[in-house]
Structures are given as C-alpha cells and as structure tokens.
C-alpha cells in the first residue's frame, strides 16, 4: 500500500453546485465521488475494475437508466481511493452569467420571453485543493482530469508519503472524510452533493504518514472494507521512526 499527498490545481473555472439547494455557490470542498470518478474516467476499466457501462456514451434504460446514479459511494475502484479534498487557497468566487438553455439549473427561455439567466459562482482557476490518495497497486495516474458540471480541466499532482504507522483508536483525520466509506464518530458536516462529507472527523482506524520535506504527521482514513497495512517497526527513537 502506498499513500500520496494529492493536490488538485484548477486550470478552468469550476462549478458543481445546483441552484435551489446550494444557491448556485460551489462549495469549497471536493467530494471524493468527484475525484475518484474523474480519475477512473481517464484510466481504462481493466485497471480500475469499474464496469465499462458506467462510462458509456449512450446512457439509457438498456444500460442502467438515464437518471439513475451509477455509484453507491465514492469508492470507484478497489485498487485506489482518493479522499475528499479541501480548498487550501483563499476562497473567492468567479461569478458569471450563464444561459443554461434548459440545463436544469437555470430557468428555461421560451419564445417571446425576456431572456432568463442566472449567476453561477465558480471557483476560479489557480485555486488548489488538497487531499490524499491511498493506492494498493502501481497505477499510472493522469496529470489532467476534468471536474464539475462543465468538466473544467484541473491538474493532479501526487507526492508519495512515507507510512510511519497505523492506528486503531480514535484520531482526527487530516482530511475531510466520506462517511459512507469510513466510519466517523464526530465532526463537522459539510453539506454538498451527492451527500454530505465530514470535516475535522474523528475516525477509528487508518494510517499515519509524513512527507520527506515536512515533519508534520498526517492522519489518513482508510475505507472500512480495506485492511490496514502490516508494518514492521525496525527502530523508534528520538525523532526517527524506521518502518
């Protein structure tokens, strides 16, 4: 098992909220469903193990239903898992009038009717999200992915971390947690689609990792159905832990 710090840098404006429930403001978190399915859309189904029909160009009753969600939770592949990510750059919005032409989130225009459109609040380019990736196998991850309602481009950057320990007692995760994937005891619920995630979450099991440059330890939650890695402690003294 390998653990990576994951950075997602927006190259295009990002919008994924829906009017009415979220007031057309994009939340400043990235849901794990968004990241995992954006990555699996680029990697071939042989690698991800995802049913190819989930990515079909033609979506209808013959392959699962047009308006039926095609996932139970954010665990897209049994080989890797991206945690939800948090915005690390200052929050600012890029408002833009958008004539959705009946895309579902803005009013529909009709003949003879004064043009109706609404402001959508995008997160601007150069905003950066940070989360983690846990990978069971060596997968070549893409450097560009597409996110949001308009499938804007974002750059994915990974930095491998060193796993220095595992834990099976309550800890606060260093990242927002998907409660359908990892059991959460306490935390702050962040309302967003398709279901809420939990920030400052207290979790029961996971791994502790650190980067080569930073001495700060990161507490990373594992999906409940995944086993903790077996680590062999060689030496533990002073500031040094060798696993």
């Amino acid at each position: 098992m390998k653990v990576f710090a994951c950075s997602i840098y927006l190259l295009d404006p990002l919008f994924y909220a829906r009017e009415g429930l979220s007031a057309a403001y994009t939340p400043h978190y990235l849901h794990a469903t968004a990241i995992n399915f954006a990555v699996t859309a680029v990697i071939s189904p042989e690698v991800t193990g995802l049913d190819p029909q989930h990515q079909s160009y033609v979506i209808g009753e013959h392959n699962g239903g047009r308006n039926t969600p095609r996932y139970k939770n954010s665990l897209a592949s049994d080989k890797f898992y991206f945690t939800p990510a948090r915005l690390t750059t200052p929050l600012k919005y890029l408002p833009e009038w958008t004539k959705g032409e009946n895309d579902g989130f803005v009013a529909q225009t009709k003949r003879g009717e004064v043009l109706k459109a609404e402001i959508l609040n995008y997160l601007p380019p150069e905003a950066e999200f940070k989360g983690f990736l846990i990978s069971k196998t060596d997968v070549v991850f893409p450097s560009l992915i597409r996110l949001g309602s308009f499938r804007g481009k974002a750059r994915l950057h990974l930095e491998e971390l060193e796993i220095v320990g595992v834990f099976e007692k309550e800890q606060t995760a260093s990242h927002p947690v998907d409660p359908l994937i990892t059991k959460v005891f306490r935390g702050v619920m962040v309302n967003m689609f398709p279901y809420p995630i939990v920030d400052n979450a207290t979790i029961a099991r996971g791994v502790v990792a650190k980067s080569q440059e930073e001495q700060m330890l990161r507490v990373i939650a594992l999906p409940d159905e995944w086993q903790l890695p077996v680590l062999k402690m060689v030496r533990n003294g002073g500031r040094t832990i060798i696993v």
Binding site: L11, D12, V42, V58, H62, E101
Partner: protein
C-alpha cells in the same frame, strides 16, 4: 480496430481511452464582444501566473461550433427523417448530437437516452496580457426630433488582433469524426455577440496530439508552446461530406433498438422485473 495513425475505424458505445487534442488559435480580425451578460463588460481574468488576460469561455465556442456542424449537416439533408435544431429539438441521432451530446428528456423527441459529449474544451486564454479595451458608443438618432432617448449605449470590446489559445479534445476519434470537427473549426469565422457587425475571427489548428489521456491545456500552452505537436495536414482526412454520411449511418448501430437504432434493446424496469 485502429488504423496506422492510431485512429479508430468505427464508432462504439463505450469509450476506448483515446484523446485527440487539437491546439486551436483564434485571432480576432475585428473587435469582438466577448461578455457574460452586462453590456459594459468584457471577459477578462487575472491569473497569478499569467497576469490579466482576455478569456473566452468554452461554452461560447462550443455553442457556435455546434451550430456550424448542424448548419453543414442540414445542407446534406441529415438527419433525413427529422429536424434537429438547438435548443429544444435535438434529434439525438445525428452527427452533431453524437459529437456534442444531448439530453433526451429535454428534447422534443423525448428520447429515452442521453448522449455524452465526445468533444471537450476549455477556456480560451489570450496570448498577451490585457493592455487596452476598446469602447464604442452606439446611438440611434430620431430623424424628426434629433434625440436619441434610450437608444444610446456603450459597447466594450476585445481589440482586433488579439490571439486566443485553447485546446479542443475529441474522445475516441475516427478519421470521419475528426474531419467533421476540423472542417467546422476552420469554418468558425465569427464569435461573440452581435456577430452581424463584430467578431470576425480566423481559426487555425496549430497542431494535434493523439494520446491515451489529455496532456495539453491552454493555461500551459500560453506559457510555452509544446514542441511535439503534429501537423493536422499529415492526417489526410476524408472529405467532410462523405464523413457526415458515414457517421450518420454509423450512429444507428449504437443507439438503442426501439429508438430508431440497432443497438441493445430498451429495457423497461418495473417492480415485477426487479423481483424476478
């Protein structure tokens, strides 16, 4: 099922992980009105790395491009048995719908399926930083009273000769789909609002990359042009008219049976069927 250059020979219902990325340059031959909605506005964005640049949202280019493709296919009498037009009457079975996608539910045809777009884009970014924005005052003088009343306005425009760079991506390209996209990109000669007066542009495809994933972005290209671009002329694409007809025939094979297609049968999911 690919040819020597890596293009697919047929159209399939499932993605096969190949991306043709076209680096596109749009040069303004006249001032252009690129705005989101306000009359006295021009679309710019201040990047930390690039400074303040003019931008064209992808949806503005995509909308125009789709209309060009639909215009061309109408000339060829495609689709033969129904009309297809934006925004409420997408036929969901023509080359334009295949390329740019559509939602069957919102179309008047009420198709029971949606089509995912095979053409992906991104924000076009100006190659140089914003220096000047030209303003133009328009009026309409009443001949009798010599007054303008409300008919007086200022239009803010992006200046002539501004060059924009963007990347247009075609997923799972065949030579025919590429021919349609390339031909219509080259036919894109007006952009923005009030194109009867403004927005004359020249659209050029600088080069292409065919890969198993997307590697190029306009954000990176305006900083440094990639050296390994291939020349689009080397592709020797088939005539666009033949391509439209071939693609129109091929779509029928992937659409569900009962919807005018020859693909998989439409399944009706009922409570009884679920129990079984």
């Amino acid at each position: 099922m690919t040819n020597a250059m890596g293009f697919f020979n047929d159209i399939k219902v499932l993605p096969r992980g190949r991306y043709l990325q076209l680096v596109v340059k749009i040069t303004l031959l006249d001032d252009a009105i690129i705005r989101s909605n306000e009359p006295e506005e021009v679309l710019t964005f201040t990047y930390k790395k690039l400074g303040t640049r003019f931008i064209i949202p992808w949806r503005k280019v995509k909308g125009k491009l789709r209309r060009m493709v639909m215009e061309k296919q109408r000339e060829l009498n495609i689709p033969q048995d129904s009309k297809c037009y934006l925004k409420d009457n997408l036929c969901m079975k023509c080359p334009a719908c295949l390329l740019f996608g559509g939602t069957g539910e919102t179309s008047k045809t009420k198709s029971s399926y949606n089509l995912l777009s095979r053409v992906l884009g991104e924000t076009f970014i100006s190659q140089t930083e914003v220096k000047d924005i030209s303003a133009y005052t328009a009026n309409a003088v009443d001949e009798e009273t010599l007054t303008t009343g409300q008919a007086l306005m200022t239009i803010v425009k992006v200046p002539t000769e501004t060059e924009f760079i963007g990347v247009v991506t075609l997923r799972d390209p065949t030579k025919e789909l590429t021919a349609i996209l390339v031909d219509n990109l080259n036919r894109l000669t007006r952009l923005g609002a009030s194109t009867r007066e403004w927005g004359k542009v020249k659209t050029e495809i600088i080069g292409y990359v065919l890969s198993d994933r997307e590697m190029l972005s306009s954000y990176d290209i305006v900083q440094e042009m990639p050296a390994d671009l291939n020349n689009i002329k080397d592709l020797q694409l088939p005539p666009v008219e033949d391509s439209f007809r071939k693609v129109a025939d091929a779509i029928i094979k992937i659409l569900p049976e009962g919807e005018g297609g020859q693909g998989k049968k439409k399944q009706k999911v009922t409570a009884e069927a679920e129990k079984e």
